[in-house]
């Protein structure tokens, strides 16, 4: 499997049990602490509630590591995105769809 290799943990942690995750959506940011073993899908579920995202939008959004475009698959553990780090910054974006003009 292709890893995106773009984790942005700042390396100031000591590989402890939690990661402080900042999620950016439009002009707002929210922060929450997650266990290192938590998965991307858990952060996404939290972010949908935290940003009060509309139902119609909730099915269309994904998380990416800030500064990248590769959508994070739900089963990816947070620890793999911030190896050795204690912080992680993600952006909430519209999930990509193929260009559907037939």
């Amino acid at each position: 499997m292709e890893g995106n290799g773009n984790g942005n943990g700042n390396g100031n942690g000591n590989g402890g049990s939690a990661i402080s995750v900042t999620v950016n959506y439009q002009a707002a940011s929210k922060v929450e602490s997650f266990p290192r073993g938590a998965k991307v899908s858990e952060v996404l579920a939290w972010a949908i509630t935290a940003f009060s995202i509309d139902d119609a939008i909730a099915t269309e959004i994904e998380l990416v590591v800030t500064g990248t475009t590769e959508e994070l698959q739900g089963s990816k553990p947070l620890a793999s995105l911030a190896p050795g780090g204690s912080t992680l910054t993600l952006d909430l974006v519209r999930g990509d769809i193929a260009n559907g003009m037939l």
Binding site: M1, T49, A56, S75, D96, I97, N99
Partner: protein, 157 residues
């Protein structure tokens, strides 16, 4: 001599990432007889009901040639009719629409990739020989359970 693609496919199916998806109930392999792989992926309907959808993949010359993956009625061995296709948001509808080549409309698919330049325009979703089957299964699963997000939001509110 056995096609070398077979061993590579079997290695993918035996990988920890793929097996975890099986163990977690995200997907399951129904049968593999090279080049055909039949499988099911778990899904959540717009009303929150859990279900699963069948797929048929052609893995000829894997992984050099991108997989061809079709939504498929495995019980009756036929293409699904309109009411049997997944429903939900725009991404669900676009991914599982009935289009010319009849495959899943994602850039990693053998036919969708070159269609409208999708693979070039979206390289992060395109197929390459460095990908594995778990990438495809995870992509399908993520879209098929996306309906659950709004249900979860409503429940939490």
């Amino acid at each position: 001599m056995e096609d070398p693609a077979i061993a590579l496919i079997e290695a993918d199916l035996a990988s920890e990432e793929f097996r975890t998806g099986c163990d977690d109930g995200r997907w399951r392999v129904m049968s593999f007889a090279y080049p055909r792989l039949d499988f099911k992926v778990s899904a959540i309907e717009p009303d929150g009901t859990a279900t699963e959808y069948g797929f048929r993949a052609d893995l000829t010359n894997y992984p050099g040639l991108a997989p061809e993956v079709k939504l498929w009625n495995l019980e009756e061995d036929r293409k699904p009719i309109a009411g049997e296709r997944p429903s939900g948001g725009k991404r669900v509808a676009e991914t599982f629409k009935d289009w010319g080549s009849g495959t899943v409309y994602r850039p990693w698919d053998r036919h969708t990739g070159p269609h409208n330049n999708n693979a070039v325009a979206k390289p992060h979703l395109a197929w390459s020989k460095d990908r594995d089957l778990a990438f495809i299964f995870e992509d399908l699963y993520g879209i098929l359970v996306s309906n659950g997000r709004k249900v979860a939001t409503r429940t939490a509110a």
